[in-house]
């Protein structure tokens, strides 16, 4: 390790790996095009706001009050109410044919009950086959019912006023939430899939033995192999960031330099993960499968990309600590949307740095034992 960088084999290995990458323009094209396409698709498709819920209304009351309630549903952006005359037991068919997701039954004496009683129960039948959507639908229904209650009891207000302010994303747009998150997802997938086969390839094609007889140290080989990919992933990262920010007009609050610096750290973590897989796996096919399994679903499901970590069962919350995207998400969303500073993001940064260190160490060690065999 006393050799300086130039004398070592690192640049030579890096050049060789780089040539290998650009010799295959088809892969290179796939590499650049795919993340961009996915970013655009995901960016438009990922919406958690429930919309266009068809609600079947069975109105036995046909009174002024029931009409007012139905108007409240019509007025909200989530619901498309339609009248349903059929008997209550036909609701099952309605749900099976997916023509409605919720049915509201207004009893005959609805208006009289409302005058007489303090609490008037109203039956909502919800198609709960999608449990999450059902929860959301129930919440929206209760919001509409609340609005109805407020306007019906207009004379009795709350004794105090609740003023709410939303910071950083005042319109609570999910695009702003997801576009930076997509950068995290795409970067780790590309990086890990790319490097996962670098060493396995040598094993499979038998060029590993050539390395064996050369005087190069294991860590130099690893470093030489990683360098071109850092460069490549960095460029891909910048492209998807730029497209994401401009196409979806995401406001950029923080420091560009800080984001580039910490993104490089994340890329290194992802590449280290790929390298480690590469030293373990025997064939390219296995390497890619492992890379896919360890990055795609865990990143989508357990990193906070969509689902808040704090709401998960404890076991999964602990598992989320070994997922690099969990920390990068805090960084990329923090810098872009909140203008967070380095000191405010120190904790996730340290986690990422520690993770890269461990992964690289395992990779080098495993690689050395591979060589000795």
């Amino acid at each position: 390790m006393t050799m300086n960088f130039k004398d070592s084999m690192i640049p030579t290995i890096a050049r060789k790996e780089f040539l290998h990458i650009i010799h295959d323009p088809r892969t290179l094209m796939i590499l650049f095009l795919m993340p961009v396409l996915q970013l655009i698709m995901f960016g438009y498709a990922l919406r958690l706001e429930i919309q266009n819920v068809h609600i079947a209304v069975i109105d036995y009351s046909k009174s002024k009050d029931s009409r007012e309630l139905i108007d409240q549903f019509k007025g909200s952006a989530f619901f498309h109410p339609f009248f349903f005359d059929g008997p209550v037991d036909k609701i099952n068919d309605l749900f099976k044919a997916r023509k409605a997701r919720v049915a509201l039954i207004i009893p005959q004496d609805f208006d009289k009950q409302l005058l007489r009683d303090t609490a008037v129960p109203l039956q909502f039948i919800i198609d709960a086959s999608d449990a999450n959507a059902a929860t959301a639908i129930r919440n929206y229904c209760s919001r509409v019912v609340n609005d109805f209650n407020v306007s019906y009891n207009r004379k009795i207000p709350l004794p105090f006023d609740i003023r709410s302010s939303v910071l950083f994303n005042p319109d609570t747009k999910s695009t702003y939430f997801f576009v930076p998150g997509l950068v995290a997802l795409l970067l780790i997938m590309i990086s890990a899939l790319l490097t996962s086969i670098t060493i396995t390839r040598e094993k499979e094609t038998g060029t590993m033995e050539q390395i064996l007889v050369s005087p190069v140290r294991p860590f130099q080989i690893i470093l030489g192999k990683v360098l071109p990919y850092i460069f490549l992933a960095f460029i891909i990262g910048i492209i998807i960031l730029l497209i994401g920010i401009f196409l979806f007009s995401v406001p950029f609050e923080g420091s560009v330099w800080l984001l580039m610096l910490l993104s490089t750290l994340y890329i290194i973590t992802a590449l280290s993960l790929g390298l480690m897989i590469s030293t373990i796996a025997k064939t390219q096919q296995i390497a890619m499968m492992i890379a896919l399994i360890t990055t795609l679903l865990p990143t989508i499901m357990l990193s906070g990309f969509i689902f808040p970590i704090a709401s998960m069962p404890k076991v999964l919350q602990y598992i989320s600590y070994i997922i690099p995207a969990r920390f990068y998400l805090l960084i990329v969303r923090g810098i872009i949307l909140k203008g967070s500073t380095f000191m405010e993001l120190l904790q996730p940064t340290l986690f990422l740095a520690g993770m890269s260190f461990i992964l690289l160490n395992v990779a080098v060690r495993k690689f050395s034992t591979n060589l000795e065999k």
Binding site: K96, A131, Q285, M312
Partner: protein
Amino acid sequence: MQRIIHMIRKEFRQIFRDKPMVVIIFIAPLIQLFVLSYAITTNVTHIKLTIADFDRSAVSRSIIRDFSHTERFDLIGYTSDIRQIGQEMRAWKTQFALVIPENFSKNLKRKLEPQIQAVVDGVDGNTAGVALGYAQEILSRYGASVMTNPGNSSRNSKRMHLVTMLDRMWYNLNLDSKEYMVPGIVVILLTIIPMMLSAMSLVKEKEIGTLEQLMVTPLRKHQLLIGKIIPFLILSYVEMAVVMNVAILFFHITMNGSFILLAFLSFLYLLTTIGLGIFISTFTNTQQQAMFVAWFFMVFMILMSGFFIPIDNMPQFLKALTYLNPMRYFMYIIRDIFEKGAGLHYLWKDAVPMTVFGLLIITMGVLKFRKRIG
């Protein structure tokens, strides 16, 4: 026939020779089953809460108690500096802040309708909306209790008449998201395994040159393809059986529909995924390329299938695009079979386009493959 059987035997030997691959094929779905069925919940809880209490009265304390006595909020600290709230949000230390101004209780007693402020981190819009809803609910309940307090008699003479919700959850009483996600995982399996493996196994033969060796054997082209397809069909069914058994026995997923219908419709769907695998293998030259392209198809199909992003939420043009996605139909079919016990009477509208796609794709794949090796 004899030749095809030999070919199938060769394929199976090749698959099972690769022990780590077998482990991946069977273990990975089970891990996914576990993670997915528990991770996916849009039920927001444990929102990190900071409180700025400038009132310091019995009233403010009892509001704080109402907030901290629920699992919806986790009280992580107090602050006496409003500017600190923004700072803590930037460092992801808190998500929600409640500011109770000075003289709040005094003004409440004087009926001056004082203001109470809720500040929320809007980056995760969904969570922000839910958090505000929770806060509204807790505060309204507190407000109502203040008004019905016997000591406060001037206003509660008027009675409120409220509509309350009596909700019935059909098909899934306990709102268990597993019931919805696990059938979805079966779809994912029947996509990944056949598509990825058939594409990669065909490309691998090309890459290492054994495809040419197969070409010079007396094996006919269609025999070669059938020999390639059948092992993956069998493997997919075995895999599906394993996962469904685990799901039903250990995760207690209820299966309300017909297994035979499910197996039959699965076959029609497998035409699509195996067809895609063959198709991918015709225009890629290395395993890496095949992997990347298969990955792209997969992400696209999963995303546009309603697996975890409801199709109803999408903008109109994307919603229209989902009709081109064979997985969309199968996702609906399998969930309706599992949960609603739907029969062909309801499902034919999805089954017909799915079958058309399947036949088209596999014919296209086979034709292209025959041209390439011809």
